[in-house]
Structure formats: C-alpha cells, structure tokens
C-alpha cells in the first residue's frame, strides 16, 4: 500500500537534507520544529556532529505558538542567537507543522536579516519529502546568496583553446550519500588523475569561499540527485555545463573524464550513463544517479547488466531507462525484486528480498549510521566487492 511499510526503513527527510548541505559553511541553520528533527538529524543523518561543530538548531515551536501564530517568539529567538553566535548566514526551514499552518519563513528571514544585518533565507521544506529536495534546495539558495558574478567567463573557449587545466566543481556530495572520507579522497584522486583541477567541492570538506567561487568552474560534475538543481542553476546563471555520473570503478571513471572534456567543448550537459545501460537480472536499489552510475560501471568493468530500482521516490528520474523503475512502495518493490537473481542495496532492504542473492551496499540516507563501518568505497577503484 502506498506510503506504508511493514518492515523497511525510510529515507532521511528534507529538513535533514538542508542541514547536511549547509553544515560546513559557517551559517546558522534552524528547523522550525517542536522537537525531534534536531536529534534525528544529529543522531542518524549527520556523521560530522560529534567531531565538527556547526550551528544547527530547532525553534522549539509549541502548540500555543502554532495556534496563536506567534512568529514573534521565533524571530526574537533567532535574533538573540544570531547576535550571540554571529553566523555567516541564517537559513530557515520548516518541519510539518509550520508547513501545515503556512508559516511565512521568507518573511521571518527578512525580519531577521533586517534586524541583524546577517544574510538570511528560507529553504523550502515540509518534513514530508526526502533529503534530496531539501539538500538540493539548500544548495541553490546558498549559491543564489553567495556565488559571485564571473565577468571572466568565456563561453567561446573549447578544449583546444584551453591552456590550463579544466576547473571542476563537484556537486551533490553530502554524507547522506557519501559518508566516507575516502569517497571524497577518491573523487579528488579521479579529478587530479584526469588532468582536471578541483574548483569547489560543494557539501563536504568545504567552506563558504567554495560557494562564492562556484562560478569560476569550467564544468560541474554531479554525483547525486542532490546536485542537479544547483547544476541547472549554475548552467542558467553562468553557462557552466555539467556531467551527471559518479566515477565508480575504473572504466566508467575514464568515460566520465572524457565526457567532462566533451561537455566543456560543446557546452552541453551530459548524462554519462546514457549509452552504457542494459537490462539484466541484477537490481541496484537506491538514489538514481549513484545507482545508474554503478550499473554503468558494472557493465564496463565486470560485464554485469543491471537495472536500477530508484527507491527514494525523488531525484533525477531522467537518468532512468525504460527498464528501470522508480518505486518507494514496499509491497510493489518486494514483488519487483522477485524478478532478479542478484540485488545490491542497503541492508535494511534485505527483509523484502526473498530469493535473490543480496549484496549489501549501505546507504547513510536510508540506514543512518547502522552500517557505515561496513560501507565500501567504490569510487575510482576496482569493483572487487562483487
């Protein structure tokens, strides 16, 4: 039954996505929430919480505030905290109840910015969507506020004219999709080995300067659905083209490297999985860009044909092929999975995989910190986990 699950987990929500996206930029991110969003995020969705400080708070809204429309308290509390903590910016997002009663977070952000002089904005959430939309919206909002105009951008340059190394932004990397430090290191290794230069990595191991300088890049590499909206925004605003795909395995990584050069030369956006997918008896569960990338890498490196079963219910569905499926319904998914001989997915999907061989691929956005210790890093490496 739609929206119902007997035994599987649920993906991180949009509010966690916002916090995860903005974690390292020195701002103060506040979820307008009674209680729970904060501890859920900091326990299950944020592996950096213990070791790296970030101003992530909730408003502590009560039923009285909600019924009486007492936004003044929230505004006053934001101003008190901002004056004490002096964040670089203030980002607000809504949990279900403020979304339900129509709290005007844009107006609250405006009031707070007017009073404190600190750039303030809201990020659209309602606590009922996945981390993908929350993080994607957050990246776009922070870019709108801080990314500099780039008067030097030269749209006519192509590869043959380019004398220095291509500058690459990595978009869509948050711990919800890539919790391992080694994933970041491998992406960097891929960028360097391919003869490119990292301009900004958006999401992890980053700072506000990276957002400011996003417009300096030549090409954006989008490694999850979380980065697509920002990639579109940067394409619209600065004509920076993008390539979708995670450099899993070796051969597929090389292919992505070629596509990045092509994307720069042609100024077109490229789906790096476009010609590399075949229907098969292996299923990959998870977020669409990562899953489609893994399917492509398995085909190139191992000759394995795999279908993608996109299970978040949100994200980049354009990357899916006709033989793939987007499904966040447990029962339908359980029935679909009977068609496959091998299933790769988060261990919390295992109870609905009955006959197939199950290969665990922990996904922080689904199982939180439960299996982080056993999560493999597949980026720019031999796919020997199979």
């Amino acid at each position: 039954m739609n929206q119902t699950a007997r035994i599987i987990s649920i993906y991180a929500a949009d509010t966690s996505g916002v916090c995860s996206a903005l974690y390292e930029y020195g701002g103060m991110t506040v979820i307008h929430d009674a209680s729970g969003c904060n501890s859920t995020y900091t326990t299950h969705d944020e592996p950096r919480w213990y070791d790296k400080k970030s101003m992530m708070f909730i408003s502590g809204i009560t039923e009285k505030d909600a019924v009486m429309g007492n936004d003044d308290k929230f505004i006053d509390d934001l101003i008190i905290a901002a004056n004490e903590l002096k964040p670089a910016f203030i980002a607000l997002c809504a949990s279900p109840l403020p979304a339900m009663i129509g709290t005007d977070l844009d107006a609250i952000a405006f009031a707070v910015e007017s009073e404190t002089g600190i750039p303030s904005f809201s990020v659209k959430t309602n606590g009922m969507s996945s981390y993908i939309s929350g993080a994607a919206n957050a990246f776009v909002e922070i870019s709108k506020h801080f990314t500099k105009e780039n008067p030097d951008i030269n749209a006519s340059l192509n590869m043959s004219d380019k004398t220095d190394r291509l500058k690459i932004n990595i978009l869509g990397i948050t711990p919800l999709d890539f919790p391992l430090r080694s994933s970041y290191d491998s992406l960097l290794e891929f960028i360097n080995d391919s003869g490119f230069e990292l301009n900004s990595c958006v999401g992890v191991n980053t700072c506000l300067e990276d957002i400011v300088n996003l417009s300096d890049a030549d090409v954006n590499l989008v490694v999850s659905s979380v980065g697509v909206s920002l990639a579109d925004h940067l394409y619209d605003e600065f004509s920076i083209p993008y390539v979708k795909g995670v450099p899993y395995g070796k051969e597929f990584s090389f292919r992505i490297g070629d596509y990045i050069k092509e994307s720069f030369s042609t100024k077109t956006n490229i789906d790096s999985t476009k010609d590399l997918r075949c229907e098969g008896d292996t299923a990959i569960l998870g977020e669409s860009i990562q899953s489609a990338s893994l399917a492509s890498a398995l085909l190139l490196d191992k000759g394995i044909k795999a279908c993608v079963l996109e299970t978040v219910g949100e994200g980049d569905l354009d990357i899916l092929k006709p033989f793939d499926l987007s499904c966040d319904d447990e029962k339908i998914l359980e029935d679909e999975l009977r068609k496959f001989k091998t299933v790769l997915g988060d261990p919390l999907f295992k109870p609905i995989v009955h006959d197939a061989d199950f290969i665990p691929l922990p996904h922080e956005a689904f199982s939180g910190r439960c299996f982080t210790k056993s999560a493999p890093n597949l980026i720019y490496t031999d796919l020997d986990f199979l």
């Binding site: 039954m1 929206q3 119902t4 699950a5 007997r6 035994i7 599987i8 987990s9 649920i10 993906y11 929500a13 949009d14 509010t15 966690s16 009674a34 209680s35 729970g36 969003c37 904060n38 501890s39 859920t40 900091t42 326990t43 299950h44 969705d45 919480w49 213990y50 070791d51 790296k52 400080k53 101003m55 992530m56 708070f57 909730i58 408003s59 009560t62 039923e63 009285k64 006053d76 509390d77 934001l78 905290a81 004490e84 903590l85 949990s95 279900p96 109840l97 979304a99 309602n126 606590g127 009922m128 969507s129 029962k331 919390l348 109870p351 199982s367 939180g368 910190r369 439960c370 299996f371």
Partner: protein, 448 residues
C-alpha cells in the same frame, strides 16, 4: 529573572551561579541545541518493553526517520512499521482512513497477528482535529484479536503533556483488571531494571510479596498480569499521569516513593511503602540499619579516592540533580556544575540549601545554542571533571563519568552506595566518551 547565557571571548558559554538564578525560569527558552549524548530513551525504546507488541508510526517522513532508525539500531525492525503522511494528506480529509487502512495493510502483511499494536499519531493529526476514537473503534472491529493502543508523538504539546509522560500512560493502557493477587506489587514508570539489592525488594521479601516489573515480562501474558496487582508503586516523576489512569481504571492504589538522596525523605518513603505492604517501621529500621551504614561508608570511600576533583551532574542522569549535589557537597565533594534546563518543583528545598552551601555552583543549560561551544572535543583536551551523566561528561569532555540515565535503577541508601561505587569506577576506569554516549538508548541492544 530569566538568564541569557552568553559566550566569553573564547566562545565558551559561562554558567550562571545558583545564587543568582531564578528557580522557576532558569534560562531563556529560545532555539534548541542537541548535544550528542544518546543514552536517554525515547518513545520507541519504551514501547519495545511490551513483549510481543508491534509499533506503527503514522507521521511525516522527518518524524518517521528518527523512530524507524531507533528500532533499526536496536535490531528490532521486525517490531516496527510506518505509514508516511504526505502533503496531500493534510487537505484531502482522509487522515483517519489513512491510519486505518495503513495499519490494516501492515497487519495483513504479517504472518501472525501481534497481540498488541501501538499506533503512534502525530502533531499533524492533532492539528487536523483527527478523530482518534473513530480510528480505534474501526481497528478494534476489524481486528478484535489485537489490543490496539493509541500512542502519541506530539512534541508540540510538550509544555502541557510531555511525550515521555504520554508514553508512560500508553505503556500500561492494555492492562485490564484481573482477580487481585494480594502478594503482587506493580512497580510502574521504570524503563530499566531496579537494583534487586535496594530496600524496596528487601522489604517486599520480608512481607512475603513479589514485584511486577515490566523489564522482567517475557510474554504478553506476563505483562498483562499487572492487572492482578494489589498496589502500584513508582519512584520516577514521569509516571504520574499513567498512575492516575491505572488507579481509575483498575481501582488499584498508587504510592509514589520518589527517588531521593535525602536521608529523611528516603526513610519517610520507605516507611510509607512498608505500611502499604503491611510491615511496620521497625522493618524499615532493620533494613536501613545496614544499607544506611553501607551508604555512608561508600560515600567516605568515594570521597577519599576522588578527593577534590571537580564534579558535574546532569539532569538526564537523575531526576534529582540538586539533591545529589547537596548530598555530595555535604560530604565534602567539590561539586562545581549542574547541567539542567529546568528545576523540578520537588527540588526547591535542595535549591535553597545549595544557594547557601555553594552559592557559586554553576548552572548550565543543555539545550541553549551557546552550549554548542561548551565542549572542546576538537583539540582532544580533557578536563579533570568527574561527571554523573552523559551530557555533563560531554560538555566537560571527560572520560571519567558515571554512565546512567533516570537514576540508573538505583534507589534508597542502597542506591547511594551503588552510585558511590560507580563514581569510584568512573575515577579509576576512564570510558571511551564518544563511543559510550553515541549508543542510543542506554541498556538497549545496538547494531553500532
């Protein structure tokens, strides 16, 4: 007068002296910070105490995420299901039917019906004016073999009905009146086992009676046998609402014998308990003659070992942090800090004593945004604090701490003795702070 905690020039928050703080409203209740101490139980942990029960949460994705992963970390996903609310559900007038149909689908998918299903509704249902009675009635009619229990995940109501208080009420609501067993006493409100060496058990044994504790129930029938109890007792404060519900439904008397660190209050409570189970005060004197002297000796031993090391206590460790601070201070310990966001009315007298005894005792909140900067785990520098409670240990960045929540199942003079032993252990055996406090739900199984 509300106090606004502030940062010093090194961005470290400064505590408020107890002598300068308003007992009723110690801190400004503004934005909330969440320290990474995960030992305190939530409504999932508590609900899992009912044997052979299943939990279904009906709420938004953001709310579901925390409870589902609580169950996942406990390795209890087989006892957990969910129904997600989407934006359209707010407007289509089908809130009740979504609960009913969602729960029905889940139960139909199970190989065997559970004996009891806890259905958790959310703030959204509350604000929609959702008809909870219609839901219960429909589910009971469809599945008469299941005890359906309405539970609430409504944190917006926390100022009037804390989720923990509501959960304690729901926890006992399937219990029905049974033929009274005069020898059975029900201990309610404790999520964790109470030390069997405490005076409560000694007195019970003297009276030839036995205790019902939810932690010892292995089957749903064991659990329901609370309905046979001749008396209900409790010693933790969150159980009041549940106790009132049980006494009115089952006609069983309830006796609150609050956890305390004050000698007079301990004896008074034990006397009340003793009278209620048909013993006289002599029994209490006999029992406490030994435990009291053991407690005094343990306090001395702990003081000799710990010496002048600073001590911090947080309110997640015990419902009476001020009472514990008073006991320790009166016995020569160097109590420097208390971490609490509010004071219990029952601690007023301890507060007054402490204001005179150690007026410079620093009171810190745990949720104020400035507390983000209270700890210095980045540089790895440790303080020399001995802490009681996970949050105090985190804020003070010490590996020397007593790892308990909600009193730790320690009661009476025996509890004081055990606590002193734990303090000595904390002094002698440093713990891995990050690993220890990351474990969600102290005492529960964890997959981490």
């Amino acid at each position: 007068m509300l106090k606004q905690i502030s940062l010093n020039e090194n961005k470290i928050p400064e505590g408020i002296k107890i002598s300068e703080i308003d007992f009723n409203n110690p801190f400004h209740d503004g934005l909330h910070y969440n320290p990474p101490a995960r030992g305190v139980w939530n409504i999932v942990h508590t609900g899992m105490l009912i044997p052979e029960a299943h939990q279904i949460y009906v709420c938004a994705q953001g709310c579901l995420r925390g409870v589902i992963l609580t169950a996942a970390e406990m390795n209890r996903m087989e006892n957990m299901s969910w129904v997600a609310l989407r934006e359209k559900d707010m407007w289509n007038g089908e809130m009740e039917s979504r609960v009913v149909e969602g729960c029905s689908h889940i139960v139909d998918e199970m190989e065997k019906h559970p004996k009891c299903v806890l259905v958790y509704l959310s703030c959204m249902h509350l604000f929609e004016g959702c008809d909870f009675k219609v839901i219960s009635k429909e589910l009971e009619e469809r599945y008469p073999d299941i005890d359906w229990v309405d539970c609430y995940m409504t944190p917006t109501m926390r100022k009037s009905f804390e989720p923990d208080v509501m959960m304690k009420k729901s926890l006992y609501s399937p219990v029905r009146k049974q033929a009274v067993d005069k020898n059975l006493i029900g201990l309610i409100g404790c999520d964790r086992e109470t030390a069997k060496s405490s005076e409560i058990y000694t007195l019970l044994e003297k009276a030839g009676m036995k205790m019902w504790e939810i932690t010892e129930c292995r089957s749903y029938e064991d659990y329901l046998s609370l309905g046979k109890a001749s008396l209900l007792i409790s010693y933790l404060p969150v159980v009041g609402y549940a106790a009132r519900d049980l006494t009115s439904r089952l006609g069983i008397e309830h006796l609150a014998i609050d956890l305390s660190y004050d000698e007079e209050e301990i004896i008074s409570n034990l006397n009340s308990f003793s009278n209620a189970i048909g013993l006289d005060e002599k029994s209490v004197k006999e029992t406490t003659a030994v435990t009291r002297s053991n407690a005094l000796k343990a306090i001395k031993d702990a003081k000799n070992i710990i010496g002048g090391r600073p001590i911090a206590i947080d309110s997640s460790a015990t419902p009476r942090p001020l009472g514990l601070a008073k006991l320790l201070t009166e016995n020569g310990f160097n109590v420097k800090r208390i971490y609490t966001d509010a004071f219990s009315a029952k601690e007023k007298s301890d507060f007054i004593v402490l204001c005179k005894l150690i007026p410079n005792l620093e009171i810190y909140p745990s949720m104020d945004p400035t507390m983000l900067f209270a700890s210095d785990e980045i540089t790895g520098s440790e303080s020399d604090f001995i802490c009681i409670g996970q949050k105090a240990a985190y804020f003070c960045q010490t590996r020397n701490f007593v790892n308990i929540i909600e009193g730790g199942g320690l009661y009476g003079f025996d509890g004081i003795e055990k606590l002193c032993q734990l303090m000595i252990d904390a002094f002698n055996n440093p713990k891995d702070l990050k690993l220890t406090i990351s474990h969600k739900g102290l005492g529960c199984e964890s997959c981490l």
